[in-house]
């Protein structure tokens, strides 16, 4: 059914055509599955903010991903693979950015019904960032990108965050792009 706003040609969106309420869906889902201790997502009233001081065309930019290095022997990690907990990682890792590493997302809950993770560029914008650097839009890429473990306790995530910051400082970056998948 299509409905237009009165006096205009503007079409109202369908009621469900809004960003998916993942927290509610996930809570309801796991309660229905029989887990009675629902996950609590972190939330803060204060949010830090640092303006970008270096023009992007002169800035060195870092990249952080939740994708996992491909692990031979750890089961199906290919396009559309079922959720694969054996492919998870629990330590921050770093790999050079001068070539595209083999990183996968079979270890996270992406939407397997409507997408398949067949194209690394949908979850790792490294090639697009290299092109933007070649075009002068970005001054330079950091020499390595960093991997952040997922599904962690808040305490473990804090330790990972400190380690990721330390590595970004080592890289001398002026800004960081973070891409959860």
């Amino acid at each position: 059914m299509t409905t237009t706003a009165p006096g205009t040609n503007a079409v109202f969106a369908e009621e469900y055509d809004v960003p998916i309420p993942y927290m509610q869906r996930t809570r309801d889902y796991y309660i229905a599955l029989g887990y009675d201790n629902p996950y609590r997502w972190a939330s803060f009233t204060e949010v830090p903010f640092t303006p970008l001081r270096t023009p992007l065309g002169r800035a060195r930019v870092g990249l952080i991903t939740t994708a996992a290095p491909y692990q031979p022997g750890a089961g199906d990690q290919g396009p559309g693979a079922p959720y694969n907990a054996a492919a998870k990682f629990y330590q921050v890792y770093s790999v050079p950015t001068d070539s595209v590493p083999d990183l996968r997302i079979s270890h996270v809950g992406y939407d397997r019904l409507h997408t398949s993770a067949a194209d690394i560029n949908t979850y790792l914008p490294l090639t697009r960032m290299r092109e933007a650097t070649a075009a002068g839009r970005i001054g330079a890429l950091a020499p390595r990108l960093h991997g952040a473990p997922t599904n962690r306790s808040h305490r473990a995530t804090e330790a990972d965050a400190a380690e990721l910051l330390r590595r970004c400082r080592e890289d001398g970056v002026d800004a960081v792009v973070l891409v959860p998948s």
Partner: protein, 122 residues
Amino acid sequence: MSLVARHIEADGIPTVIMGCAKDIVEHCGVPRFLFSDFPLGNSAGRPFDIESQAQTLELALRVLETAPAARTTVQSPQRWSADASWKRDYNNLTKLTPEKIAERRKEFDVVKSVARAKREGT
């Protein structure tokens, strides 16, 4: 990932998150967020669509440059498909039979034990 962005930003390095889970990222509270209303797994653009990916990155870079304050979210104008019915599916219980729910429970118990073994072995 939101916690990582906050930690890095608090130390004086500006950050931008590219993602598809609007409620989760905004619930945490992050400095800058480029939201793509796509199925989870496509934070950096549509598969095999270089133009979509380049536009998504460009928007994220502009958010990095121009956000006036923390909690800036920009939504990409790109649409996954003209028909939005894909949004009804993700972990949607009303679409699952009791048998299917029991099956998912079993699968998840396996996933949890595999993850625990891996974590403890690391």
